[in-house]
Structures are given as C-alpha cells and as structure tokens.
Amino acid sequence: MANKVLVFLEQRNGKIKKSSLQAYKAGEKIAGFYGAEISAVTIGGEIEELEKVGNYGIKNVTHLKNSDLAVYSSSGYKKALADYVAEDGADVLIFANTAMGKDLAPRLAVVMDAGTGMDCIAFEKEEDDVVATRPVYAGKALIDVVIKSPKKIFTIRPNVFDAGEATGEAAEVTVKEISDVDLSAKVVEMKTSEGKLDVAEADIIVSGGRGMKGPENFAMIEELADLLGAAVGASRAVVDAGWRPHSEQVGQTGKTVSPNLYIALAISGAIQHLAGMRSSKYIVAVNKDKDAPIFQVADYGIVGDVFEVLPAIIEEVKKIKS
C-alpha cells in the first residue's frame, strides 16, 4: 500500500523538463491504483512560471529554493529532497529516467530504504500490488516487477507516457527557502554542445551507420537532421571508428531511445542496435541490402544506395518545409 505519491520535477536552466511532466502522468496512474494523494516537488534557484505545470494536471508543487541549487548537485539535491520527503511523508517517489533522475533516485533509495524500479514503461494493478514493466537487456526482454518494501521508487522512461495538451490550469506553488545546502559534490562548469539536440531527448533521430563510408558524409545526415529539428544518431561501428562521438551512439552500449521517428541510414541493424531503437514509434530504413535486419523493424523501407536516396529525401523535405 501507499498513501502519498511524490513526483520530482526536474528543471534545467530554470525550465521544467517535458520528461518530468510525462513522469507525473505515470505518477497519477500509480496514485490511482493505491487511492493515494499525489503532489510534485522541484529543486532549483529561479524557475520560470512554475505554476504553468498546472497545464498538465499538477495541482500542487513545492519549490525547494536556493540559488546554490540552480544547477544539479548530487549531494545538495539529495539532502534537500530527503529532508522534504521526511517532512511530507511520501512513500512513493517518482523521477523521469534522465541523467539527473538516474543519478538522484538511488540516493533517495538508500535514505528511504526503498526498492527501486528504473526506466519503467508501464504500470498495472494486480491484486493489491502495482506491477511495473521495465526493459532489460536493452529492450530485448521486459520484466514485470513488484516492489515489496513499504517505500518505493520508480523512474519513468521519457516519451512513453503522454504529458497531454495544456489545459490552462495553474498549479498552486509553495516556495520553501533551503538554507542548509550540502555542496560536497558541486558542478563547477557546464559544457554544453550548443544548439545540438541529444538523442535521448529528441522526437526525431536521423542515424547513420558504417555504410555512410566516412565521417565527411555525415554532413548530409546533419543537413536532414537540421531540416527536421532532429538529433543525429550513430551506430556502434561508426562510433568505434571515431567518426562520431559516443554521446550519439544508439544501442545496447549507447543510448536506448524511443523517438516518434527514427531514420536509419545505411545501418544494417545489428541486434545491439535494434535493441536500442526498436521501441521508436516510426522507423524508416534506407539500406542497399534488402536482407538487412533493419528492414524487419522498419515501418517504411527503401532498398537502395544511401548516396542517391538521402539527397533525394533532403530535397523532398526541403519542399515541404519551404
């Protein structure tokens, strides 16, 4: 059983992330199963128009505020959140499964002595238990788990639950100034890849494989990605060859992604790559080998030479975007 569900809303640069709003929807489902209350909490310095999270069904949000917590600190966030959980009495804690969520959730698990279900994609009620489904082996299999400890933590895979359309409602915001900040681990510098979308967060990914023949040919992939507002992805072979950075690698030893659209260009579809992208909503494959495994998961395929097909796709996209 559980009485209080608390959803952690992640902010970066003072803006609440979409993945947290999606996580709140999963939280509503869990709270519904238990007949539990639900609320939200965020940590940061100044946060823009926090009441607007009400648009996505959030009624109450507490802002744990200190300018030293404007950027993430594992120690600072852990302490602030642990203190709040102790006071609030939440017994189910929910995070988005992001870099921050993955770092922070287990820290609270120790504080709360809670069992943890990471990267959940579905919840069902079976008798009195909430059963969480999560991918294992990079999505080659799924497991259904129950958490038996009284306190429970779940993280929610981004882009699986729909945050919904804005309703125009405003959330009630409670600001709590935090005075005692633990900065024993402190971010001293952020190195951002300016203007570049990350594959983990993108709605569309344009990804290239070894069939692109060389790093210089990724200029075409970048062009298509720019036109579509997409992130650039890469297969392991491409990253291992040093053509693209590891942060773009999709697959079992890279990132597991589920965008709305995944365009696989000259990627044959090794099992570890398919594991990382097969849950994408729509998959397009262009490959000259008609037997390439990528066509087994593709919604739309073109069997052909990427150096002829890709420039044609770019031209067609330019037409609809102009």
Binding site: V71, S74, S75, K78, A99, K102, D103, A105, R107, A109, G115, T116, G117, M118, D119, E126, V131, Y137, A138, K140, A141, L142, I143, D144, V145, V146, I147, K148, S184, A185, V187, V188, M190, S193, D198, E201, H246, S247, Q252, T253, G254, T256, R278, S279, Y282, V284, K290, F295, Q296, A298, D299, Y300, G301, I302, V303, G304, A312, I313, E316, I320
Partner: protein, 248 residues
Amino acid sequence: MKIAVCVSHVPDTATRISIGADGKTIDTNGVTYVVNPYDEFAIEEALKTKESLGGEVVVISLGPDANKETIRKALAMGVDTGVLLKTDEQRDSLAVAKALAEEIKSQGAEIVFFGKQSVDYDNSIVGQLTAELLGYNSVTVVVDLKIEGDKVTAEREIEGGKEVVETTLPVVITAQKGLNEPRYASLKGIMAAKRKPIEEKEPASAENYVEVLRMKKPAPKQPGKIIGTDASAAAELVRLLREEAKVI
C-alpha cells in the same frame, strides 16, 4: 591507496535473448558471458589511478562461481587481487550494493570504480547505492577524471553536454564509454593472473525488495512496407511520413 573496482559478468551484447524455464530469467543455454562492457572502462581507470597514485587494486564481483572468469580477466589486465562474493541467488540492486559496501569497507578502499550500468538488468544504480551506503561522494557516467591529493574533478555526461563536478575522497566513480581505452591483457598478464589469489566470501545477507514476477519478450514489430528501390521513392516516403504517420 586502496582502490576497488566492482564488476559484473553478463551475456555478450550480441546474444539473442530467450526466456528461461522459470519464466523469470533468461535461458542461459549457449549464452557467452563477458566482462560487462562498461566495467572494462572501470578496470582501466582503476589501473591508471594506481599507476599515478600508487597502492593496490582489488576487483570485487558478486555472483556464482562463473563470475571468476570476469575477475580473472581483470587480474590479467593488471588488478592485484580478487574477491568473489559467492552466491547463486538473484539479488536486486540494493541487496547487491549492501554486500559490496560491506566488502569495500572491510578492504578499506577509498576510491571505488563501477561501470555506469550492467548491460543485463540495465538499472544503472548499484554504484550510487553503494556510495550512499558507504557515505562516500560519487560521480556517475564519468568520461574524464582527475584525482589530485584529496580533490576529485570528474566530467559526467548529461543530455546535450557535460557537467564538471568537483568533490573529495573517498569517492565512487561510475565509468562511461570514452573515459579511457581499456588495455588488452598481455600474455604475461594472463599467466600472472593464474597465480593471483581470488578470495571467496559469503556476501553480507540482505533482503530483496524488488521481486521479478515474470520475464517476457516485447511484442514483435510488424515489418512494414518497402516503398521503393531507388531515389524516386523519396517523395512517397516523405508523403507517408507527413500524411500517414504524421511525424514530420
């Protein structure tokens, strides 16, 4: 300086997964097990840290006898000693972390490396759990690391960039691909590893909080349509993405 590296023994990433007879775990028949890929970066970083700071590296793994293969691989790369926390039972992440934390404490290790996640259960939390149980600082998903005296500077990968984190010893670091280039074990290293001790111990007992009810295969994806065999198909593709899928 005592340095520890915690490793897991996992199915090779090229493995096709089928469900075992218990309906809760994979069928291990014919599956090749390897050092967890991210743990190779952890082992390499432990060795580099020893080379610059001096001291000794111990590799720790929790699991069945078969995990000795992975321990032996770490010893062959240059790790000094090995500990197998031997159990045939499945443990959840927190129960694993509780046993590892006890062992790290008894080893007196002040710098501890993990891979950022095991590619079997993909939780990516054992490093953080262990750090919190020990009361150590920790930085996860690290792609660059400097340790000078007590001061630790680590770069961790986040969405669309990197955070440079400063903290102090004792510390747990979880390694991401890109942190280093893992060395190959030399023939001499492989021979030497055969003589290095692997101590077997009973892991500290801990209750599982997470129970696996069942394992299942994801719904198979229906293969779609081949639109064409040359550049002339591009227009139809873009039309379908726009009008049928409505994703662009």
